[in-house]
C-alpha cells in the first residue's frame, strides 16, 4: 500500500521548492557530525478560513495561509531550534546551521535509512473547507442566528462563527522517520447575549473535529449549538449567588473532563517528570487517585479534535492508560523525553506549528466508565454543587493546585437538583482531588470538540471527557458565606 498522505505532502511541500528526500537526508546528515544525536525537519503548509455572523449578517471573513519549515537538533537535554517561513533549500540549510550550534560536546548520532511505513489515517484527506460553497456557509450561519432568536425573545445578540483548517505536514528525522499527515480541523461556535428585566447573561456552545463542514449540517448539529447556547444563557438569568466553601461536587459528563486535563493530565507530561518539577514525578506504580479512576489519553480516536494519525514527530498515536484503578502507569512522551527517561514514545510529541518546538502534550484525555447511574450519584449528595459546564481551567504542575470555572451549575439539596447558581471557580490539589473521587458514572462522553490547550505559549487542539462523577470535597469559590 502506498502512503497517500506522503504523496500529498511531497507534492505540496517538496516539489514546489524542488526538494526531495535525498536533499532532506543531506541536510539532516550535515547536522549529525556535530555531537548531535537527533535531528528533524518539520515542514508545514496550512490554509485557514473563518466566517463570522453578527447582528444577523455575515460581516467578516478571513483567509490565511501559513507555511514554513522548522529544524531541530538535539544533544542530550539540549535543543537547538530554528525555522523559516520560506520552504527553500538555502533557508533550510541556514536553519540547520543555526540549530546545530547547540552541540558543544557529547555523542554523535548517525543518519538512518528512511523507514516510512504506511499509516492508517484517522480522518479524511479531503479539503474540509471545500465541501460547502461560500453561500452555503453563510446560509448555515444565518440559520443558526434565526434559530437562536426564534427560541426566546430575550436573545439580544448572536455571534456565530464557522472556521476550518486544512493542514499538510511532513516530518523527516535522522532515526529514519519520514511521515506525513493531512489534517482537517473544523469548528463552529455560537454565543448569545440575553437580557431580561435589566439583567444580562451570556451562553455559548459549539463543536467540531477532524472532519469536514458537512459535520455541522448533519443531525441538525449547527442548530443544536444555537439551542444549547440560548438554553445556557437563560438558565444563568435565574442563577443565584454560589456558596463559598468546601463541599461535595458532582461533575457532569463530557466537557467537565477538563478536571482530568488540569488535575492530572499536565502533571503526567514527560518533560515535567524528567525534570522532576511535577507533583507526580517519580510516582509510577503508586496510588495517585481513588481506585475508581482509570484515566486514558488516546490520540487514535477516529476524527476527534485531539486526534492525530501521527504526532508532530512522526510517531503513530495510540491509546495510553495513564492511571489504572488509581495506580499511576504511564507518562505522556515525545522522542526527546522518552529517550532521556528510557521509556517508550507514546505519540504525544506535538507542536503548534513549524515555528514552535515539539513537547509532550495531551491528545484526547478521558476517564473510563464506572458502574453508577448519574441519578444515583446526584441522589447520594445531601448538600453540594452539580457542575455541568465549565469555561476552562489552569494548573500549577509543581504544587498540584488546579482551578476550573463553572459556566453552568446547580445546587444539590437532599439529593435533588434545586436551583442554578452563578459561575464560580473550583480549586483543589490534583492528587488529593483524584483520591476524593468516590463515585464514577456509566455515562462517559467526550466533549463536543472545542478544547484548546495552552502550554509554554503553544496552543494545540485537544479533547476531554468523563462520565458523571462525585468528588467528596472541593473548594467552591462563591460569594455566599
Amino acid at each position: 500500500m502506498t502512503d497517500k498522505n506522503l504523496l500529498i505532502a511531497k507534492q505540496s511541500l517538496l516539489q514546489p521548492a524542488e526538494l526531495d528526500e535525498s536533499i532532506l537526508e543531506k541536510v539532516i546528515g550535515s547536522m549529525m557530525g556535530h555531537a548531535i544525536e537527533y535531528a528533524d525537519i518539520y515542514m508545514q503548509t496550512s490554509r485557514h478560513e473563518s466566517w463570522v455572523l453578527e447582528d444577523g449578517i455575515v460581516k467578516d471573513g478571513q483567509h490565511n495561509i501559513e507555511q514554513g519549515v522548522g529544524v531541530r537538533a538535539i544533544s542530550g537535554e539540549k535543543t537547538g531550534f530554528a525555522y523559516s517561513d520560506d520552504i527553500i533549500l538555502p533557508a533550510l540549510t541556514s536553519a540547520a546551521d543555526a540549530a546545530r550550534t547547540i552541540a558543544r560536546q557529547g555523542q554523535s548520532g548517525g543518519m538512518n535509512a528512511w523507514q516510512s511505513s504506511p499509516i492508517s489515517p484517522l480522518y479524511t484527506e479531503n479539503d474540509p473547507l471545500a465541501v460547502l460553497s461560500a453561500e452555503q456557509k453563510i446560509e448555515l450561519l444565518r440559520a443558526v442566528d434565526k434559530e437562536a432568536r426564534r427560541i426566546d425573545p430575550c436573545v439580544q445578540q448572536v455571534i456565530a462563527s464557522i472556521s476550518g483548517v486544512h493542514e499538510i505536514v511532513l516530518v523527516a528525522a535522522n532515526d529514519g522517520t519520514l511521515s506525513a499527515d493531512v489534517r482537517p480541523l473544523v469548528r463552529m461556535n455560537v454565543s448569545v447575549i440575553v437580557e431580561r428585566d435589566g439583567r444580562r447573561e451570556q451562553g455559548s456552545a459549539g463543536g467540531g473535529g477532524r472532519v469536514t463542514y458537512k459535520y455541522f449540517t448533519e443531525n441538525d448539529r449547527a442548530l443544536g449549538y444555537a439551542r444549547e447556547a440560548v438554553r445556557q444563557a437563560i438558565v444563568n438569568l435565574d442563577a443565584k449567588d454560589t456558596p463559598a466553601g468546601t463541599m461535595p461536587v458532582v461533575l457532569g459528563p463530557g466537557w467537565p473532563g477538563v478536571l482530568l486535563h488540569e488535575a492530572v493530565g499536565h502533571g503526567l507530561e514527560g518533560d515535567f517528570n524528567r525534570k522532576g518539577s511535577s507533583v507526580f514525578s517519580g510516582r509510577i506504580g503508586e496510588q495517585v487517585a481513588s481506585k475508581y479512576c482509570t484515566v486514558i489519553d488516546d490520540g487514535s480516536i477516529q476524527s476527534r479534535r485531539g486526534s492525530l494519525s501521527v504526532d508532530d514527530e512522526g510517531t503513530v498515536t495510540q491509546q495510553n492508560v495513564l492511571i489504572e484503578n488509581g495506580i499511576l502507569k504511564n507518562y505522556m512522551q515525545d522522542k526527546q523525553n522518552s529517550r532521556l527517561m528510557n521509556l517508550p514514545t507514546t505519540g504525544n510529541g506535538r507542536r503548534e506549528s513549524y515555528a514552535h518546538m515539539p513537547m509532550p502534550r495531551m491528545t484526547n484525555t478521558y476517564m473510563a466508565n464506572g458502574d453508577h447511574d448519574a441519578e444515583e450519584i446526584i441522589a447520594s449528595v445531601d448538600k453540594g454543587l452539580y457542575a455541568v459546564n465549565f469555561g476552562g481551567g489552569q494548573v500549577d504542575i509543581t504544587s498540584g493546585k488546579f482551578v476550573f470555572s463553572t459556566s453552568e451549575a446547580y445546587m444539590i439539596e437532599k439529593g435533588k437538583i434545586t436551583y442554578p447558581v452563578k459561575g464560580a471557580t473550583l480549586i483543589g490539589n490534583g492528587p488529593e482531588a483524584m483520591n476524593l473521587i468516590s463515585m464514577v458514572g456509566n455515562d462517559m462522553s467526550l466533549d463536543t470538540g472545542v478544547g484548546v490547550c495552552g502550554k509554554e505559549g503553544q496552543s494545540v487542539p485537544v479533547g476531554v471527557g468523563q462520565p458523571t462523577l462525585l468528588v467528596d470535597r472541593l473548594t467552591v469559590g462563591g460569594t455566599n458565606t
Binding site: 460581516k59 467578516d60 470555572s405 509554554e456 473548594t475 469559590g477 458565606t481
Partner: protein, 454 residues
Amino acid sequence: MNQTIEKHANSDADLFDRDSLKETVDFMLQQARNKGASASEAGLSVETGLSVTVRMGEVETIEYTRDRSFGVTVYFGQRKGSASTTDFSRQAVIDTVTAACDIARYTEEDKFAGIADKNKLAFDYPDLDLNHPWDLGAEQAIEMATQCEAKSLAYDKRITNSEGAYITAHQAYRIYANSHGFVGDYSSTRHSNGCTVIASEGEGMERDYWYSIARNADKLDDLNLVGEMAATRAIKRLNARQIKTQKVPVVFQAEVARGLLGHLVRALGGGAQYRRASFLVDKLGTQIFPERFRIDERPHLKQAIGSAPFDGEGVINTSHDLVSDGVIQSYVLDSYSARRLNTETTGNSGGMHNLFINTDDYDLDGLLKEMGTGVLVTEVMGQGVNIVTGDYSRGGTGFWVENGEIQYPIEEFTLASNLAEMYQRLSLVGNDVDLRSSLCTGSWLIDEMTIAGT
C-alpha cells in the same frame, strides 16, 4: 512551566529591507484598487529574535526566531474581506488580495464597516525611541542565563530544582498603510531576562519566577537580582496553609492588580459595549471608582513597553482619561466600534497603550499596614471573570496578614466578588508600580472580598 522565549539575533539585512517592504505594501494596495476595492488597508510585520534557556547549569534551548506576516483587508462599499500570508512573494501578495476580494463578494453590507476616517490618521507621528537592537550572541546569552540561574540556585539550600533562566532579544519592524494614503512604519525592540526555580521542603514543592523586560537591554534588571527574586519568591511560598471561608480585605500585589485594570479595559471595550456584553454598558459619565481615582492612557511615553506612535489602523493616539474623579470619561474604541456607538475612535485599535492609575503614598508594606488583617494575593488562577455580569471568582495564592504583618503563606483558596463592587471598594493603590506591561499599576487594597477555603 517554563517561560516561552523569543529573542533577537543580529539584524538581518534582507528581513529589514524597509524600502522593499514598503513597496510590497504599496503593491498590495494597488492590486486591491485594480480589483475594484473602494478602500483597503494592509499591515506587515517582520520580527527576528534569539532566545536561550539554561537549566541546571546546562544550555537547554537555543532558539532563533524569524517571523513574517502580511495581512490585507479590502472593502467594496460596505462589504469587507480579509486575508493574510507569511509568503511575501509578488504572486503570494496577488493571491492574498484575491482571497480577500473573494470573501468580500460574499460578506454582507455593514454600514459601519470601513477604514479609519482620513482626518483621524496620524500622518505626522512621533519617534518614541522604541528601537534599541541588542547585538547578543548565543554564547553571551548562555553565560548570562547561567549566571542568573546559578545565583538563584545558590541563594538557599531549599532551592532544589529549576525550570531554567532565559535571555531573549527581539526586534520587529511594522508597517501599516491604507487607501487614504497613510503609510506609517516603525522599528521596535523588546528584550527580557527571567528565571523560574523550585523550592522544596519535606513533601512540599513550590515554583516561582521573576523576570524583567525592556526596550533597551541596559534597562533590564540585574541578572543577580532576577535570580534572587525568583528564589526568594519560591521559598516564601513553602509550607503554605489553607484558610477558613470568610469575608476580609484583600491586597492584590501590583503584578496581579494589573489584571483588574485589564478587566476594566475589556468592559469598556467597543466590542463589549456595542454588543451590550459588559457590566459597564451605558455607564459613560457614571462613577464606578471612589472619587480620588484617575485612570489615564499615555501612548507616547518614550521607551515604554506599551508605547506605539499610532494605533492599529493608523489613527492618532493621544493621552486621555478613561476615568477621572472616579467617573468613566471614555470607552476604549476603534473606528468600527466608535461608528457603532455613534461617537469617535479613541485610538485603541489593537489595544491599550500604557494605562496608569494614580497612586497613593504607600509602598506594599504600607498597604498591608493599612489593611491590618486580611489576604495578600500574589497569584490568581483560572478564567472565572464574567465581563457581562462582572462576577469575579478566581483561585488564589498568597499570604495571610495580621496587624499589617505577613504571618504565613496560604494556598488553595478562591477570591470572589463582583468587579463593580471591587472597583467601588478600592481604597488605596500602592506606589510600587509595575511597568512591565501596557497596564501599569501598583498594588490594590480592596475593602472586602469573599474568600472560600476550608
